[in-house]
């Protein structure tokens, strides 16, 4: 997916103001921004349900506009609202969308069953959606976008109003799909989700993409570094001194038998640190600097208003 200089106004309100980014095959890209940042507007343009005032989108090499019917087959769109018929069963809803995505009858049945399995709704598939819990409806909402094995799966805040257990299941599903090679465009205003799922993140504020990169790159921008916390069995002072003396990290501080130090790139440096510490380490906690801090740094605002 590639989009270039997307713009969109609602009357006088500038909702999207020159947004450009790319998503590579099998990449999970997160669009992070507070309420009203323009995430849904950007995503709707990319999904071909909203006409942009300016700019281009291509998915799998084909331009996307509301009129580009054929090209939409490459996209699976999961809208922010629960776009399902409550008076139909889960299976009937999926069958309906499968047909609209152009699946053949035999294929439809197979894919509907497969997708129900993926999201874990096989047992409830024959019941009316109106009887589902909020989390189940969310999962079905996602399922409807997966039926035709899209190249690009677009998810607009798929975990809003979902209990932690369902949310975890949903995030797990998305991780699996991404691992199997599906490109994912994911919007959220939960930075934990972006951190967990996304290979790269674009930070959107007031219709503009104000920063983009991997979570590491973004947090590095802020200049923060990973905090590594080591719990050791013996001689924390001695170990802290040796760590500070090495070029692995700095600012090591001791609190009881816990050592906290700042490390530029913890995943890379950790083996060497453990090597240095030897047998005394009981536990290691790496705390990455978070996107919350990045957003705060870039806009002076909190992600959650």
């Amino acid at each position: 997916m590639s989009c270039h200089d997307l713009r969109r106004n609602y009357g006088k309100l500038v909702a999207v103001n020159g947004v450009s980014f790319d998503i590579r095959p099998a990449e999970t890209y997160g669009l992070l921004g507070p309420n009203g940042a323009g995430k849904t507007t950007v995503i709707s343009i990319i999904a071909g349900v909203l006409q942009a005032d300016a700019g281009q989108v291509t998915v799998a090499g084909r331009p996307i506009t509301p009129r580009a019917i054929g090209a939409k087959a490459a996209i699976g769109y999961v809208p922010q609202e629960l776009a399902l018929y409550p008076d139909l069963t889960g299976r009937e809803n999926l069958r309906f969308f499968a047909k609209l995505y152009g699946l053949r009858s035999s294929e439809t049945k197979r894919r509907v069953d497969e997708v129900l399995g993926i999201i874990g709704l096989s047992e409830r598939a024959g019941q009316l959606v109106s009887t589902y819990s909020g989390g189940m409806k969310r999962r079905l909402n996602i399922a409807a976008g997966l039926l035709h094995r899209p190249n690009l799966l677009i998810l607009d805040e798929p975990t809003v109003g979902v209990d932690p257990q369902s949310r975890n299941a949903i995030l797990g599903n998305i991780e699996t799909l991404a691992r199997e090679g599906m490109a994912v465009l994911y919007t959220t205003h939960y930075m934990e989700e972006a951190q967990r799922l996304c290979d790269r993140v674009g930070v959107l504020d007031e219709g503009k993409l104000i920063a983009e990169g991997t979570v590491r790159e973004l947090t590095a921008m802020v200049g923060e570094q990973d905090r590594v916390r080591l719990t050791v069995a013996a001689e924390p002072q001695e170990l802290a001194r040796r760590l500070n003396a090495s070029d692995l990290g700095h600012s090591a501080a001791v609190d009881g038998n816990e050592i906290t130090l700042l490390v530029k790139d913890a995943p890379t440096a950790l083996p060497a640190i453990l090597d240095l510490a030897g047998q005394t380490v009981r536990s290691v906690i790496v705390e990455e600097p978070d996107l919350e801090a990045v957003f705060l740094h870039l806009t002076g605002k909190s992600l959650r208003d």
């Binding site: 349900v49 509301p66 939409k72 776009a83 018929y85």
Partner: protein, 378 residues
């Protein structure tokens, strides 16, 4: 055929609602039964009587009223009465004379029943004639004035009741040509339209739930979605038609006439009705508005178009106004088909008008919906 998927899904949602069975099946049948019994179920044939304002005419009218075996309906004008007989809303019409020098006009549909009514009417006239003769005789013999003589005659009349006649019917009962026919075609039009209008709620729900938007995200063109939604309204309306036509034919022996012509007429009316349904589903913002407006429009157009009261009872101006509605054209078509053994050629005008109107309304609705979907995407 994604159109079929869209239409079938919509139909499935409609039929899943329990109330649908009531509204699609029980309610129309009940209406036909109730109205048929109320207005036409009695075995007395309806005879229209036009009464000039003279003592003679009024006395004759009273006698006809009192006569057994017929139901007298007062009609203001002779031409209206004759037209009603022609259309089968009245079995016969009697245009009473103002005085004894004017002939009485008697209009009747050909057939056994016409002869029966004829004999009832003749009997009434014979009695009246006998009374007048007797009075004239009494007046001449006793030197009384005619009114005085008449009251003497009337006073002794109860002593001479009509000779008793015992009638026994033998053989099979003849096919009941009936009021049910007229009721059934009225109800058919009313309900076909009503169901297409109220079913527009399904379209509004699709929009409100965001399903419509999601459909636009699939490789499905706006045109396909519109055709699918139109087909959905059409199929509900046609389903309603089949239920009423088959149900009334089985339950009340209603005759719909030439099947091909009737099917074409029903299909044309269904296209008009579903066009209006699509229009309502496009314009109305909420389901509540759609249901309210749908009911109001359906009942209003049905009443205006003669689907509640026979067009023959309308004044000629109102009959012209009525033909602004598709109901009036379809009603004309059905009365041709049911009562005169007409075929397609005989209802060509009605068919042409309805099909043209159907395509026009459908076209406008599709254009508006397309605009609305584009604006949603715009």
């Amino acid at each position: 055929m994604k159109e079929l998927t869209i239409a079938a899904t919509s139909l499935r949602r409609t039929l899943r609602e329990r109330s649908s069975i009531f509204f699609l099946v029980l309610f129309p049948m009940l209406m036909i039964l109730v109205l048929g019994v109320a207005f036409g179920g009695s075995f007395s044939p309806r005879v229209g009587v036009v009464t000039p304002h003279t003592p003679l005419a009024e006395r004759l009218a009273d006698s006809l009223h009192a006569a057994p075996g017929i139901a007298v309906v007062a009609v203001a004008e002779g031409s209206t009465a004759i037209a009603s007989v022609e259309h089968g809303d009245l079995e016969a019409a009697v245009i009473l004379p103002a005085d004894l020098n004017t002939p009485l006009r008697y209009v009747v549909r050909p057939g056994i029943q016409g002869q029966q009514i004829s004999s009832i009417v003749t009997a009434v006239l014979d009695r009246e004639e006998a009374r007048l003769r007797a009075a004239a005789f009494v007046a001449a013999e006793n030197g009384l004035s005619l009114p005085e003589a008449q009251s003497r005659v009337d006073a002794i009349a109860p002593q001479f009741p009509p000779a008793p006649v015992d009638v026994t019917y033998a053989g099979p009962e003849p096919a009941r040509h009936g009021r049910f026919d007229a009721m059934a075609s009225s109800e058919l039009l009313l309900f076909m339209f009503l169901v297409a209008m109220t079913n527009s709620v399904a379209l509004i729900e699709s929009r409100r739930l965001g399903v419509m938007r999601r459909m636009l995200a699939t490789p499905t063109s706006t045109g396909t979605i519109i055709r699918g939604e139109g087909l959905a309204r059409l199929s509900v309306s046609l389903l309603q038609a089949v239920i009423i036509m088959v149900g009334s034919a089985l339950l009340f022996q209603v005759r719909w006439g030439d099947p091909v012509a009737a099917a074409l007429l029903v299909a044309a009316f269904a296209v008009v009705a579903s066009g209006f349904g699509l229009l309502l589903g496009t314009i109305a913002r909420t389901s509540e508005v759609a249901i309210g407006a749908g009911l109001l429009l359906s009942l209003g157009m049905a009443a205006l178009g003669g689907a509640m009261m026979p067009l023959d009872l309308f004044s000629s101006t109102m009959r012209k106004v009525a033909h602004l509605t598709p109901h009036a054209w379809a009603a004309d078509g059905f009365s041709e088909l049911a009562r005169h053994n007409a075929g397609i050629a005989d209802i060509a005008t009605e068919l042409a008008v309805l099909w043209t109107a159907g395509f026009a309304v459908f076209g406008v609705a599709a254009w508006l919906l397309r605009r609305r979907l584009a604006r949603q995407a715009a």
